[in-house]
Assembly symmetry: C3
Homo-oligomer: 434 residues x 3
């Protein structure tokens, strides 16, 4: 008899980690060359298209902003020493800071400085996309070491000019136009878990699925800046978005926290059940939480005008761990093992979605005689092997209404065992898809 | 930005308590001058109408009984001492006792005496509305002190004659004919918690709502004797009763027990959810229990012929605390603080009902750009203020199907915070009622 | 006032046990004289019909097999001693063993021997209905005592010839054609709990119900071999099967385990609720478990082509206790007391199904005045007797949609109390069936 389909064979954790490492130094924001370079590096793993949407384009309720790029940024203290320097960490500069070149006393500089007093050695990550200002992020210890007297020199050598917003997209056509959307935000500078981990896992999933001979769903991978990127994609794909049957945003998938799956707004969507099932059978610590309208781009996809059933998989929850949005979210905060676990959990979820469906038992009156088809043990005893029980579950629920995932949930068996039993029954003419 | 609507500013607990004190000495029953005087005292606080329904009027399956009034009632022992005297406590006389003036031995008197052996210093409260008899209630110690020999003299100087049943009613018109019914029973003699507490809280709610410039619902306050009074009101308002969208009976609201909310028969009505929400956010101990067809007039309102969604709010549960229906339910059993808490919880529930509704997000595709409308913080960090989160919840759920109460429940935020966010969004043209 | 209907008066446990004793020695299988004799003994208690279905008859996806009978079976060791003998225990022979008469060394015999190493004194029960082979079951100690050298003689003197499959059936007509099906498997040899206990309880239920003057449902009792027998019955009663509104399979009802009720496939059927109710009010330990497509003939009845709402009542769960399908399931494993308890629980379930229904309160507006009909206590106090509360529950829920079982569940009262209250209300013209 056919054994249950094996777990998807995934990439090595070290390959996932290497991609995170490669992307780490780039200075990303919601626009600019850092995003473009990031997308080009992704292209080495999966053949994504890079789209450029001009500044000023109206997208839903928003407008694509001017493009932001950084040449240099620093603060020199009264002695002339460059005490804060963008080249040492791109987190030092508030994202979308407008250009400035000025000398000023500490009192004038101080309102532009951001620190984390409770973590005196970490640099915070701050943005000011829609308010024209500038600022620097530094450690609390750096702040305390700044002399109060004398004149400081500030250089923010940035450009904020008409350009474009860049995003990446890969469509893997399937047997149907029903789509599965995998979306990852690409707008954060040197933060490893948020979201180079999500980008890396997504890129390797795209490569894996692209290599498949057969896909039931069409898969769409989107790599776009948070909020404005997802809004731009939605604005440009209003009709195509209606085909999304299941979706996920990916974030913070490399840290050591247990998994958290955030459900779609309605809850109870097939992606919600697939996620719960894959996590329950992963043997890994996890929780599922209800949707809330804050977090990453699941906010946009689930908005009233679209209501796409998009959940979110993460390990650490945004805003819930101290390293979040600080320089402590560095390469030591993520690991090859956790990245590989995340890939496997996601691949299992996608296999559930790909393999699920409604079937009809073709010998529905009583149980078919499996024994004469060689599908049942010969000598009756007290227990029953798993595959036979899986077949009985599939036969019992295949009434055209229940799905294979229903069977897996009720049987408390991994989906791939139920899917394997269904394959065997189809081969023996006992089962047909509805 | 607008802050969330504040908690309703309520009356002082001492004003509620003073009304309880004023009503306490009166001898009420299901008819008679005690009820009439009670209603007149309520009129000083809220402009209720007093309705009189003649004895003999057919009301649903019942008939309005003859009116009962008491001039005097006492028992004199063989020495001639008035050992039991209605003038000392109106609980001494079984309510609706028929007139009697007779001399009898203790053995003949004994079957007419009611005590509480387990609480030897308390007088029980007993009624005999539909069985023509008479009786006295006394403490166990009084009973034990009665000499067994000699002749007793009994005086029950009552009248039971054609008259009328009195009830009070106040209608506060609103923008719609949809009604909220607040019903309190007024048939108990000197029992403070049951139900002078309910009457006092109701009267102050009526005054508060009457002073409002704008009411969405029409409010109807009913003050009627238990069972026969509610039945009489229903009989005379068959059609108007159909307009009741939400209702509450009020009882035992001045004692120190945690709150108990008893759900409507169907459960899951909007009043059930409003009550659960107000209690959950009150910070006070509480429980919700399922409907059962015993208790106060929620029985009548929820009957199959009407099925009005009427729940019941109480603190101590009828029959579940020892002081219930005894002389221990006196002025020391209730307190200004507890009465004021009850008023606030009820006012919060009513505000939920008044403020709830379905809305439509007018920028439903993705999130609207709150920042350019001055509704969002400028510099992005790791957390989000409550009002912004409340706006995101309202925008996210305002699809014409979910209500603001749905949003408050899912957000685990007080309704007034959600309502405040909705007001702000309406002002900015982002939200409209359905 | 009428008291609540009493618990059904059942048979003595010793009478149930005596039937188990009488049936115990017979060698049953899925066909053959042992089944026929079993059915004839049942006829002494309940007037069942015995049906014979010829070998070779096509039944759903199956074919009625040849009939199997045993004249003798033994193994003689090299010394000629009959070390394993069917006449000492019919479990020694694998059911449906084909005839053999041969001499062979131990090495050739060994693959035909089945033991339970973990229970060295017990004989296992094994079958080989559809694979033409033979075998013996013996204790592990017997196996270990067999000398390894020399020649063994094996005699399996069975017949496997065209004949018929036998099953018993009793139909007790009721006022409606809606049927309650009680099905027990009769294919096991000397195993007391599985399933002589089920057969005995079923036979005494049939006798009890047959003696009733009035039955609302038509009752159908089926005594058939497991799997192939139920499939044969379904094949021959395709149309009649559609009338089954509620059903139960009975098994393992004499042991000392707590009750287990296994729900129908859909769950939430009236039989599921009746079972849960009867068990909850039995005062006996019990659990309810969801359907799974393994076990006894509930598998066939619930199959997609029929979907009959058939649950299963058992004490020990098949495969979950060590004595299951071994010689330790003997007469000492079952007791009169447990059999009688099982009978009572089942009779209570059936009474719920018989007595349940939707009613209409004929005085639905408010509460009817029970007092003037003599249905309510005269003097009001703080509590209320159970019968009055039961009447209030029935009146409150009798809106043509709720059932009496709904009322019993919500009231947390035994169904017979609610049913008694409904009878009283019907007598007083306050209630009518829908």
């Amino acid at each position: 008899m056919t054994a249950a389909a094996p777990l998807p064979a995934g990439p090595e954790g070290r390959d996932l980690y290497r991609l995170v490492e490669e992307l780490y130094p780039l200075c990303r924001s919601i626009t600019g060359d850092g995003v473009r370079q990031t997308l080009k590096i992704i292209q080495r793993h999966a053949p994504i298209d890079i789209h450029e949407v001009p500044s000023g384009t109206a997208v839903l309720d928003w407008t694509v902003p001017r493009e932001w790029n950084v040449r240099d940024a620093w603060i020199a203290d009264p002695s002339g020493a460059r005490v804060i320097d963008f080249r040492r960490s791109n987190l030092h500069l508030v994202s979308y800071s407008v250009p400035v070149r000025a000398r000023m006393p500490f009192s004038a500089l101080r309102p532009h400085l951001h620190t984390l007093p409770e973590h005196p050695d970490w640099i915070p990550y701050r943005t000011s996309y829609y308010d024209e200002t500038w600022g620097f992020c530094l450690t609390q210890r750096q702040l305390e070491a700044l002399p109060p007297d004398g004149e400081y020199e500030v250089c923010v050598d940035t450009t904020l000019e008409p350009g474009s917003l860049s995003y990446g997209e890969l469509v893997l056509p399937g047997e149907t136009e029903d789509e599965i959307l995998i979306s990852s935000h690409v707008c954060h500078p040197s933060l490893a878990d948020d979201n180079l981990s999500g980008i890396a896992v997504s890129a390797f999933l795209a490569r894996h699925l692209g290599a498949r001979a057969r896909r039931r769903h069409t898969f769409r991978f989107v790599y776009a800046p948070g909020t404005i990127g997802a809004i731009t994609w939605l604005a440009q794909n209003r009709e195509r978005a209606r085909r999304v049957r299941h979706g996920l945003t990916l974030t913070c998938l490399g840290d050591a926290h247990p998994f958290t799956y955030k459900r779609t707004l309605a809850g109870g969507a097939e992606i919600d059940r697939a996620a719960a099932h894959a996590l329950a059978h992963s043997g890994l610590a996890h929780q599922s939480i209800d949707f809330f309208p804050y977090g990453y781009d699941e906010r946009q996809y689930n908005s009233p005008g679209f209501r796409l059933p998009v959940g979110s998989l993460m390990r650490g929850r945004h805003g819930q761990f101290p390293e979040y949005h600080t320089s402590a979210d560095d390469l030591s905060f993520v690991s090859p093992e956790r990245l590989a676990e995340s890939w496997t959990v996601l691949a299992t979820m996608l296999d559930v979605l790909e393999g699920n469906g409604r079937y009809r038992n073709l010998a529905p009156d009583g149980e078919p005689q499996l024994g004469r088809r060689g599908l049942y043990r010969a000598v009756g005893g007290t227990d029953i092997p798993g595959l036979q029980l899986a077949m009985l579950w599939v036969l019992s629920l295949s009434d055209g209404e229940h799905t294979l995932l229903d069977a897996a949930e009720r049987a408390k068996m991994p989906f791939r065992a139920i899917r394997g039993a269904a394959d065997l029954l189809e081969q023996h003419g006992l089962l047909a898809p509805v």
